[in-house]
Amino acid sequence: MGIGGLALWELVVKAGRIAPFVLPAPSAIWEQFWLSREVIWKTGLASGTNALVGLVGGAVLGILAAMVASRFRLLGEASIPVAAALNALPIIALAPILNNMFESTSSIPRRIVVAIVVFFPVFVNTLRGLRQVDPTHRELMDSYAAGGWTFTRLVRLPGALPFVFTGLRQASSLAVIAAVVAEYFGGLQDGLGSRITSAAANTAYPRAWAFVVGACVLGLVFYIAALGLERLATPWRRP
């Protein structure tokens, strides 16, 4: 299927049905990918680091915030609409503002953008998981005279783990997108995003596409890593 699609794409572009500056042929993109492989690797590493740092930071904050919100019923109920409103903000558009707050050689603005983007899915999913407690589990732990923290540690947290990972899986792709796109708005230009914009500005479309492919691969790596981590951390859910 995939190979057939690529062949069809190549054929359509070569036959002149689509202008190469609109959509370059896959062979041209591949050629550029190969030529720029070192730059793609280097910039991919930079973007990947930003995405990873932001992802970890945002996820830790999201989980902690969800734990606090689940402790207090009112806070939990009030926090969902606030979080939804925050999520509706074009967070990536904060990049220029953040860029002005830090030095131009700083990677922090992009990482902050990633962390904010990641926060929402992790927070919402974790909160949902923490709130779902089997009433039988509650009575059982009461019968053991288990205290609040013991209950959280032994029941709430492990029970919420599958939800946390659902959030992390969603967040992993978002993290890469945010890390790449945040560069469109200035700041330090050492990642994949800056190369995409500069190649496109120079009408080097196959090269721009080659970096897009690089970003795509990076996103996939993050997603698969999140999936693998989920498998490791929740062995009871394996079929």
């Binding site: 039988t136 059982l140 019968s143 053991y144 032994l154 783990l161 009871w236």
Partner: protein, 257 residues
């Protein structure tokens, strides 16, 4: 020795409000050590509430509950009883072995003691080979057996069970009934068993406590003496006589209600 003693116990939910419910009133009940007592009655008769009063999961509105010679609260804190519910309530993220270990873990038992005791309990319910499985990999009947093993793990003198076989098919149910009797006889555990099945109550019990709703109360206590149970017991005349007697007592409560 008495395992459980309730004197003048009543329970009112939401007292003084529009949705006030008198769940139980004037309950006096004594369970002797080693006895198997079933609570039976139509839904809303407060049998589950009665069990939870003994377990100190809900406090009584009046009267006193004594378990193993202590107030119910102290008995709960000392883990004087093990409890099993209609839902097995296993923790999916713990292996079968670690599920059974949980009450011991909360008692700060040593690692080796935990492991040994869990092994012993799993062998008792015939699941020694499944120690490393996760609960979702087991059938409903097996999960319920793990729950029983967990309830027995601290060697409690008292076992409280709230319709533990209610969600199981008839064949599994009868097998687990025999297993439960064998375990109780072997460990000398006293048992309070909530059920809505008349044959189950008669087959398992030394005494069947018949309850009626609105307000929940005990209307009859029927002594059962079937000797040691086996396959023939389920066909015996005494068994059917017991069933008839309990059924008649239940019907009596229906008319009264």
């Amino acid at each position: 020795m008495t395992a459980v003693e309730l004197v003048g116990v009543g329970k009112v939910f939401n007292p003084g409000r529009a949705d006030q419910v008198v769940a139980l009133t004037g309950v006096d009940l004594t369970v002797e050590s080693g006895q198997f007592v079933s609570l039976i009655g139509p839904s809303g008769c407060g049998k589950s509430t009665l069990l939870r009063l003994v377990a100190d999961l809900v406090p009584p509105s009046e009267g006193t509950v004594t378990v193993a010679g202590k107030p119910a609260r102290k008995a709960r804190l000392d883990q004087e009883y093990g409890i099993a519910f209609q839902q097995a309530g296993l923790f999916d993220w713990r292996t079968v072995q670690r599920n059974v270990e949980l009450p011991l873990e909360l008692r700060r038992a040593s690692r080796s003691e935990r492991r040994e005791r869990a092994r012993e309990m799993l062998d008792l319910v015939g699941l020694g080979d499944f120690a490393r499985h996760y609960p979702p990999q087991l059938s409903g009947g097996m999960q319920q057996r793990v729950a029983i093993a967990r309830a027995l793990a601290v060697h409690p003198p008292l076992l409280l069970m709230d319709e533990p076989f209610g969600a199981l098919d008839e064949m599994t149910r009868e097998r687990l009934q025999d297993e439960l009797l064998r375990i109780c006889a072997r460990t000398g555990t006293s048992t309070i068993f909530v059920t809505h099945s008349i044959p189950e109550a008669v087959y398992l019990s030394d005494r069947v406590v018949v309850m009626s709703p609105r307000p929940g109360r005990i209307t009859d206590v029927i002594d059962i003496d079937l000797g040691s149970r086996n396959e023939a017991t389920r066909q015996s005349a005494d068994f059917f006589a017991g069933i008839t007697e309990v059924r008649r007592a239940l019907r009596g409560t229906e008319v009264a209600a």
